[in-house]
Subunit: 426 residues, 2 copies
């Protein structure tokens, strides 16, 4: 079965509102193994809506439309469905008033101590050839009709009305054959290098199908069964093979985040962490504490943005700052050792660099970041040169510190080799 | 001129990634008065991409495609454009290698001390009948071709590559009838309340047209001339009237951020800032240091996640922690005073709360956050109760601390009244 999603509204087309309905519906369809072949967004324009409904009914078995069912003049989904049903017949089907829907509407207002505005009466209309679907949460009933061989269901735009109506009116009409799928995430190498490691696995005729995406420098492999021939075990085998191919960059599966993988490693060892940040100004701490339960293993940190704070709060000698500058190997080392000692943590990291756009020099260009990691019987300090703008350099620096910590903690063999072989551009 | 947007990627169709590119492009097109007639999203499927390109070229003069230009097997935009160009001719145009693009690619890797993986060579290919567009930021060149009367431009998916390529390769091709527009931003009150303040200004037949949007709890009013009749002066008048109506929540215009508005206030007064964060774990510091030049006014901070760190690093008495708990008025006050004194800052803020999902109680439910602000001859500590999940509570808490600082610094009259009248739910 193939589905398509049509989102309606000027506010979407003007870029003023994110189309969270389409994302939500896509996820729900993927969960039950229904392939979504197209998503489309059009303005509050009756003719465009009608032709979109017809075109999507040609390529999908199931078309889900959201928005345009309100009571105002720019709510045109009822009229568009009427046009789409009538298309090619030379006439428009009549609009019918649904008595049950009308009394529901009147009751909805009465329960709130209000008389129904005249304008809302049109919400009880539906074109002949379609049926109205009850809305338990708001005023706008949905609509359902056949266009050719496809079923078209129109749902109201507000998510808190759309979600329950989907569960009640759409979900039961879909086949339940959950698509088997899984994800492996990696950080520390580029998408093209990691994809190259996968070789033939990414061929488009394979089952399961493997694809990669990159978001915020995290590269993910998606493994997805094309049909029932792809067994649970085949997906699992693929995922674990990708994890080995992506060593040591692979850090987790599914909803695991980079910081979550570090937290799990610390939790397992009952160890704690502290961070000293200069150019990232708290970003690494923020990523770490975004994880619920991080208070078990994260003690806190120092945001040593000014040199005086590095000296007074983290015991970095003034002579060292004068001689080497704040962005240097000895200062990164002193920050990591300092915050570890002050906060009595098992592990610590430090980040000091030049995020730009100003502050770079020939010697230390923008993007130069020193990262220190230390723990029981271990210390490493590495220089990186991250490409990109201020936000990207900071993001990469914070995530690299977290990834280096995870690698050093989980695998002692990483401590000698890997920290030194990690690519300089992260 | 009519435009259409085509977004490509399995990760979008599976609902795993929000299509921020389409939203961004929609906004940019609206800014210059180009009507976007359709947005469409399809999977990494060559035939579907090709037919989408052709169908959109039938309804629009300009088609902007994003995604699918990477080096891997599931990047099919080059092949889809080849199919779309060849459609109806009975043959596919050959793929040509662009020598300039190839040497750019090789240089890109060389500059990062790496050899170009073989897989990336295909990024220098483009179908005959199209031309390659240089990418200054990443490896994926764009593509441009004519399909019928329409111009199709294909841009890479990562926003930090797509945005500059749009400015460089697409914006100059659009008609130059820049609609006059401007934005006012506010934080601290909800979108519906702020919209209500604007009253009739939001009527759809007005010129200039006023609309509101909310993103990350920042509410923005967009003022846009419908045509040349809306003068520069009329837009300016509208913007400054909205700023007064939105007092004291309005913090800036255009590209000004909340942290940037705080930085400007400190810079003007040659004053400095320090922050102590518990539940936000560095997020406020990260927002503040996202501003280039923040080192002039931001000294640093303490991430006092564990109670021991509050005590040892920020001089919060153990008896106070035992008696009132970490999420309390006296601890918020001690943290703000402590970090101000330790870092020798003019101004300081503290944040201590329960971000959830666990850790709440009847007395201190999830979302309870104490925020302290102190400066020369000034101190205020306030309790908030932020709605939403962990990420939302943390985001609102960090931004509220920044907004309270700005208000206290910029207007002494706020210091008595506003800090106490600010809505408890932020």
């Amino acid at each position: 079965m193939k589905a398509a999603i049509l989102s309606i509204g000027d506010e979407l087309m003007l870029g003023q509102t994110a189309d969270t309905n389409a994302i939500w519906l896509s996820g729900r369809l993927a969960d039950v193994g229904v392939e979504c072949v197209q998503r489309r967004t059009v303005s509050d324009d009756c003719a465009m809506q009608a032709s979109a409904m017809r075109e999507l009914a040609d390529v999908a078995d199931f078309v889900i439309v959201t928005g345009g069912l309100g009571p105002t003049d720019d709510d045109l989904t009822r009229a568009a469905l009427q046009q789409a049903i009538g298309h090619g017949t030379g006439s428009l089907p009549p609009m019918l008033e649904d008595g049950v829907m009308l009394s529901r509407l009147e009751r909805w207002f009465a329960e709130r101590g209000r008389v129904m505005p005249a304008i809302n009466r049109r919400q009880s209309l539906h074109p002949a050839g379609s049926e109205a679907l009850p809305n338990e949460v708001g005023t706008a009933p949905g609509l359902r009709a056949k266009l050719g061989n496809a079923t078209v269901v129109c749902l109201p735009g507000p998510p808190r009305e759309m979600h329950p109506m989907y569960e009640q009116c759409v979900a039961p009409l879909l086949p339940v054959s959950p698509m088997k799928c899984g994800m492996v995430h990696a950080f520390g190498s580029g998408e093209s290098s990691l994809a190259e490691c996968l070789g033939d696995r990414m061929r488009r005729d394979r089952n399961p199908l493997v694809g990669t995406t990159a978001s915020g420098s995290v590269v993910s492999a998606r493994v997805r069964g094309r049909d029932q021939a792809a067994s649970e075990a085949a997906i699992e085998k693929e995922l674990s093979e990708i994890e080995s191919l992506w060593k040591p960059f692979a850090f987790g599966r599914g909803s695991t985040t980079l910081a979550g993988s570090l937290g799990a490693a610390l939790l397992q060892r009952k160890q704690t962490l502290a961070i000293a940040e200069s150019c990232t100004g708290g970003l690494a701490g923020s990523l770490v504490t975004a994880e619920s339960g991080s208070s078990t293993w994260f003690l806190g940190g120092l945001v040593t943005y000014a040199n005086e704070v590095k000296r007074d709060m983290c015991d970095v000698p003034q002579t060292m700052l004068d001689q080497h500058g704040a962005v240097s190997e000895p200062v990164a080392s002193a920050l990591a050792q300092g915050v570890r000692k002050k906060l009595k943590a098992d592990w610590a990291a430090s980040i000091t660099g030049i995020a730009g756009p100003t502050g770079g020099s020939d010697d230390k260009p923008v993007g130069t970041v020193w990262i220190g990691v230390c723990g029981p019987q271990f210390e490493a300090v590495r220089r990186f040169r991250f490409p990109g703008d201020r936000a990207t350099v900071r993001d990469r620096a914070a995530k690299t510190a977290i990834a280096l910590l995870r690698m050093a903690i989980t695998d002692p063999s990483n401590r000698v080799s890997l920290l030194w072989e990690w690519p300089v551009d992260g």
